[in-house]
């Protein structure tokens, strides 16, 4: 393989609160390679990338880029030097449109001073098409789903045609097909001599795309391997030091009192020109996990927002244990037993500036056991937080640490722990393991199954098909705001077949679909 383009030497990073995020990490990136970095949540992957990209300063150690030692003091310098980065937590401006975001800083110019918006528009559209990313480029960032924002981040970085492209968990909310498209493009970039750094918790993806793989553990590098020299099992071993459960079927126990906990009855959301949701009906029973499959942006997000009360439907009803909750406030729904793990963890899921303990009680902060008549009982809250931190192995200095300083996966764990802790009868889990490492994802999966066994109904919305297939008892498939496929059991269903429904190629008859409500 060709020569080294970027070399990290003994990088150590100590954050403002004393956390040692990287310890003497040395990695060399070669020209024209795809180099993956894997490791548990909080291993220091994002930190290392931010150091390369000039967002964080290394406390010690050197970076050599194209033979010269460099010290980028901000990301602009890194960008000018030819480095691009897709951030784990997006850095997009909410009031910008997709086009504006993508061309920012690289605007096509006409007549010397004006931005050529026409050209920008056509270029962006072309770009999206090239990657088969189905996205309306005239939309505002604020109106996009997390998956769409992810795509904008990717397009924005690839548009800049950087020599070194860093992708921090770009695929965590992409569907398998979108990932395939992305990988094809990445390989093209590689063939043109670009260097790609790829971070993911999905080891099969890593195995598929990488030339070399570096494994991180606890801030340190545990070695760089040629792809051919390492198996997924070995990687797992180096990351978590044990084997993983891949099949959950033996954990499932049948729940006795099967009754409907959540019923969605002919739900529609009508906008001026089209239906976002159209006549969606299904029933979620106690003791089951109902999987919702579909390419993001086909109405699943809106369905969830209607159920949880963040959005209002135009027609139809939502029943929780036979009570119409369509008009209830968010709070009332929560009190009646709905919990919600939101897909947008940084926007809806947490308050970045607040502490872990403040964040871990937000949806039940008025619960009796942590309150007296007038005051909140700080000691009890801290004890509760500490218990959850332990149970979900959340990596944080203490419960008083600002949550924004936790790693992405650990933030997600706080959100899951909080919703779990409300002991809901109906759990809406949207991308519940988004950005979570393999060990913790397994833990969260077993917790969801445990809740199911104890009689909760779980609506699982996930872009990760294997997650849907692994956990669900029944599956519905969404396409353009409608349920187009229903599977009474996951047995015998292949990802391929689901894919056909997800892309709108196949569609079941109304009788077959009726099972979602009546089975």
């Amino acid at each position: 393989m060709s020569d080294t383009i970027l070399k990290l030497d003994n990088i150590t990073k100590i954050y403002g609160n004393g956390v040692v995020a990287n310890k003497n990490v040395s990695i060399d990136l070669k020209k024209g390679e795809i180099h993956s970095i894997v490791g548990e949540n909080g291993a220091g992957k994002s930190t290392l990338m931010k150091i390369i990209f000039g967002i964080e300063n290394a406390s010690s150690g050197t970076i050599t880029y194209k033979g010269k030692e460099v010290h980028f003091s901000n990301s602009m310098e890194a960008i000018h030097a030819g480095i691009g980065m897709v951030h784990q937590h997006f850095m997009l401006i909410p009031s910008f449109t997709v086009v504006q975001s993508i061309i920012l800083g690289m605007e096509p110019i006409k007549h010397g001073i004006f931005i050529d918006m026409k050209k920008a528009l056509s270029q962006t559209k072309e770009l999206a098409k090239k990657y088969n990313f189905d996205i309306d480029v005239t939309k505002k960032i604020a109106d996009l789903s997390v998956g769409e924002k992810q795509k904008v981040e990717i397009l924005k970085t690839l548009y800049r045609d950087a020599e070194v492209i860093i992708l921090d968990e770009p695929t965590s909310v992409l569907t398998p097909q979108e990932t395939v498209n992305l990988f094809n493009e990445l390989r093209k970039f590689k063939d043109m001599g670009h260097t790609i750094v790829f971070i993911s918790h999905k080891l099969n993806e890593v195995k598929q795309i990488s030339d070399r793989i570096t494994i991180m553990r606890n801030g340190e590098s545990r070695g760089t391997y040629n792809n051919a020299d390492i198996t997924i099992e070995k990687m797992t071993d180096l990351i978590i030091d044990r084997d993983l459960i891949t099949d959950y079927s033996h954990l499932r126990k049948d729940y006795e009192n099967v009754s409907t906990v959540l019923k969605v009855d002919n739900l529609s959301i009508e906008r001026k020109t089209r239906f976002i949701l159209k006549d969606v009906s299904f029933a979620l029973k106690r003791g089951e996990i109902l999987g919702v499959a579909g390419v993001q942006g086909n109405g699943q997000a809106e369905l969830v927002r209607c159920i949880t009360g963040l959005m209002e439907q135009t027609h139809g009803k939502i029943l929780l244990a036979d009570n119409d909750i369509s008009k209830d406030s968010i709070k009332q729904r929560r009190v009646k037993g709905i919990a919600y793990i939101p897909e947008d963890r940084m926007g809806d899921g947490i308050a970045e500036q607040a502490s872990v303990s403040d964040n871990i009680i937000s949806t039940y902060y008025d619960r009796k056991d942590i309150n007296s008549r007038f005051f909140m009982l700080n000691k009890k809250i801290v004890a509760e937080a500490d218990r959850l931190i332990k149970k979900f192995s959340i990596k944080t200095q203490s419960s008083k640490t600002k949550i924004g300083s936790l790693s992405g996966g650990n933030i997600q764990k706080v959100v899951v722990a909080r919703e779990y802790n409300t002991a809901p009868s109906c759990m809406i889990a949207e991308q519940p393991t988004h950005g979570i490492d393999i060990g913790s994802a397994e833990f969260i999966h077993t917790q969801l199954i445990d809740m199911r066994n104890k009689g909760a109904g779980i609506l699982l919305v996930s872009a990760d098909l294997s997650e849907v297939m692994n956990l669900s008892d029944r599956i519905v498939v969404f396409y353009e705001g409608e349920i187009v496929g229903y599977f009474k059991s996951v047995k015998g269903v292949t990802e391929n077949e689901l894919g056909l429904y997800m892309l709108g190629v196949k569609r079941q008859t109304p009788e077959e679909l009726g099972g979602a409500l009546n089975d």
């Binding site: 150590t12 310890k23 963040l310 709070k331 729904r333 899921g349 607040a354 937000s362 007038f374 700080n378």
Partner: protein, 361 residues
Amino acid sequence: MTKKKTKKISLTNEFVFEIVKTLISILIALGLTFVVIVLLSDNPIELFTKLLTAPVTKVRYFGNVIEMMIPIAFSGLAVSLLFRTGLFNLGIEGIYFIGGVVTAAVACTAIDSYVLHPILSILIPAIVGGLLMLIPGFLKAKFNANELVVSLMLNSIYLGLGLFIIKNYLRGIDTSAIASPAFQETAMLDYIIPNTRITISFFLLLIAVFLVYLLLYKTRLGYSIRMTGTNMKFALYSGMNAFTLFMLVHFISGFLGGIGTSVELLSLYGRFTWIVLPGLGFNGALMAMLGRNNPVGVLISAFFISYLAKGAEVMALGSDVPVEIMAIIQAVLVLLVSSQYFLRKWRERQLLKEGTANELS
């Protein structure tokens, strides 16, 4: 090996760092002031010493410091609650004005009780202040109207309305100025420390600081204020009711503003004489910023600024340095304290030292 557990003050602690940063900001601001004094005067050392020590040289001076502190600390508390909720509302200025007119109306009414009259003269403006703040609160909660614009507009409206009331219904006939009649003697607050004009309002302030502290950090309402202030979407998602919260916060804020203006008038004025906005509410915004929206921080800032203001006033007497030097100090302070970058590099180096030391041990 036994590790000694020393609880040494460490710069890596966020809270300690903030305090150190504030102290250093103060030193720099004072340093700059000194430079300005050197440029303007022949005996800079003497003047500078006066600036720093004058307020403690006489009981009367120190009393003045406390008197100046009280109204801006009240408005600072009021504004900090709004800021905490994420609302950039400067309406307390208008509340001070219109609340002052209400105070005058009550204080000029004959109520024959040395207990009841002051209580009513404080409580009624407080309630009116709270209710009036519900207007921008409602516009924000219901229509998401820009609270800054609305509050500035309301300030002008309250100024006009207040003047109209004073001129037409509450004009003192014993004075040629535009002012209310003299307050009834029964309404006025008594001086409680000889040689000063400090009244019971000082204790009211301490109680208010304590209550706001409890409210913010110990109650459910305070929790939802803090969460809404850092991430509104998150608060909504969690099920908190923004409408109720906004209304409550605005009311409490206006209530505090009403107390602030009434005790100011009942302690120091004797009649309502403002014909322009007094600036006390805007000053509150400054205190809120300097004090990081923390009630104790607000109190300390208000004291500190008042202390310097008195020092500057005494120093300016019979010297070439104008009292406006205060403005320099304030501006520099606000800039430094609110700057994210100031001292950060230095702190990072400390962290590295400490971090590597920890690694080695």
